[in-house]
Amino acid sequence: METVFTQYAWLIPLFPLAAFILLTSFGRSFKGLGVMVGSAASLASLVLALLVLFERMGEGVEDYQDGFKWLDLSTIQLNIGFEVTNLSALMLVIVTIVSLLVNVYSAGYMKSDERITVFYGYIALFTFSMLGLVLADNMLALYIFWELVGVCSFLLVGFWYQKPEARAAAKKAFIVTRIGDAGLLIAILLLFWYMPNHALDFVNIQNVFNEQTGTIAAGITTLIALLIFVGAVGKSGQFPLHVWLPDAMEGPTPISALIHAATMVAAGVYLVARTFDIFQASQAAMDVVAYVGAFTAIFAATIGVAQNDIKRILAFSTVSQLGYMMMALGLGSLTGGIFHLFTHAFFKALLFLGAGSVIHAVHTQNIHEMGGLGSRMRITAWTFGIGALALSGIPPLSGFWSKDAILNTALHENPVLFGVGVVAAFFTAFYMSRLFFLVFAGRPKGEKQAHDSSWTMTLPLIILAVLAVVTGFVETPWNNTLGTWLSGGTETTHTGGGLVMVISAAVGVLGIYLGWLMYVKGTIARDAVSSRMPWLLRLLERKYYIDELYQVVFVRGLRGLGLLLQAMDDFIIDGIVRCVGGAAVLLGRGGTRLQNGQVQTYGVITLLGLVILIVAIAGRRFW
């Protein structure tokens, strides 16, 4: 089949880039420009991405790669280019859809903000970076966009930089992810060193690691895979580098949706999926990925139960769901991971935008100060409910199918992780029902005039709700369309598994039922657990004291080291510099005193110089 649009896939990231440049150069003079330009660019990208996706759905489509020479280092060449695979085509669509909807939504949400055009410029840059990352055909290009994504998240999380918390959160997001980036950079350097011909492009990487010819030693393979995973851990908010993600909630809510659904955190999962062959070549690395993912899934899910900030609960649910994706990838199911990424993108964007709509109406983020919003904000409540059900894994919504695919794999590969996944699913359902019932059910409190937002904000919610319902059907136990398409038919997806479906649905329903009993019916007292075990509540509320631990161990330690180094810089390095400077000044002072305009003084100095010269010349004879 002819690939018409695929050849022009490189245009997809360029639309948002153009929008960014346009908005940065002319944004100040045209206030209303942001919405139009940002949305138009995203729309153009979406259309092209959809065309590419449809084209790739045809029979026998080859991966398309094109590029140009970027650096010629005589012995090696560094190319930069793009590659369209089924995976990247899917990612392109996810990113552009969410980006477009966030653009439209922000028109309402950020309407009264002074720097709205700047905001749109940042979103466009963020979209550009993520699309570039998805299309990159080699590790180096990917790394460049990877860093750009990091910068954009820094800019956007700290968008309201007047708030000290936002500044701190932006710095935290940037610094914590940098730790992961360092790992990725080392991995790229190792790849560069060990790959034949220093090839860094994905095609070669796939070939080398697929053949299992021992081109690269097993230990090195594991090391590379683990270092890449460190990068993914940083970006995708996996334990132990998850701490930045909840704090990143200080940014505007549409940004949270963008970061959590399509761009920043998806980058880590995408990276692992893109370099999946390296991971598959090393069982140890796969195990690490699976266990870290599973641990993160349950760890974050339990924290989510005890949080009171609507956005923070969603943030921890993102961490938890990303854990699921990593677990799926670690268990060897590329389809499961990407499928969950795909469905999660829509329902998580939906949940965040819904939460934004609520925050916009009631001006608080504490779920205990909300209540009874269901009757006032019908569209928001309905769509949010759909998102929450999808996240809880209730059939037939999309989240159920993708979670089912992961749990199915887990049951076959590693029953322990299956158990962890099921428990995490229960907690997920529980905290989502807690959140939903506290916000939308019960008697109203606080703001009386809460009402649904304007159409720019509700329209994206409706579209996302529809997507959250239907996207699950691309991969069901009796229909492996996505899996076959993604893996080229090589991956054996576990069919059947009626038991898993029943268990995961039952767990979801149970979690919601428990939430309903606690927060609507009141049959079980809300403090049934917390009154008996207050330490547990505290532990969960403080997120297992991870932040405090880091504060003591790393932040204090590094600050101490910093102070020491600063003292060294101030006193030793600066001391030497000041000495040199002082000597020069002293010499200068002496010089000015000598130059007093008296010919006789000059004469004496000349005479002295002559005497010294003579003594020196005469002295050399006896030396």
Partner: protein, 100 residues
């Protein structure tokens, strides 16, 4: 013989140098410079008579030097008089125009 002439010339030169560097009065400085010049002249003559290759060239040179020194002294005195008219003093300590 030569060394005694040279010693005398050295003594004269040193006196001249001392005067040129130390004396306040510009006229005395000028005189001291003449003294140094003449010390050199004495050297030239002494070498032309008692040097390794005696010839008249040294004495000829001395005559030239005396003539040039006379001209120089005239110019120097003229400058001094101009200075004296402008500043009302011949004290070299007060001439520090070179500093600016």
């Amino acid at each position: 013989m030569l060394s005694s002439y040279l010693t005398l010339a050295a003594i004269l030169f040193c006196i001249g140098l001392y005067g040129a560097l130390v004396k306040r009065n510009a006229v005395v400085v000028l005189l001291s410079i003449e003294l140094m010049l003449n010390a050199v002249n004495l050297n030239l003559v002494a070498f032309s008579k008692y040097g390794a290759v005696p010839s008249l060239t040294g004495q000829m040179f001395t005559l030239f030097t005396i003539a040039v020194a006379a001209a120089e002294a005239a110019v120097g005195i003229a400058v001094l008089i101009a200075l004296f008219r402008a500043r009302g003093t011949v004290n070299v300590d007060e001439f520090d125009e070179m500093r600016r």
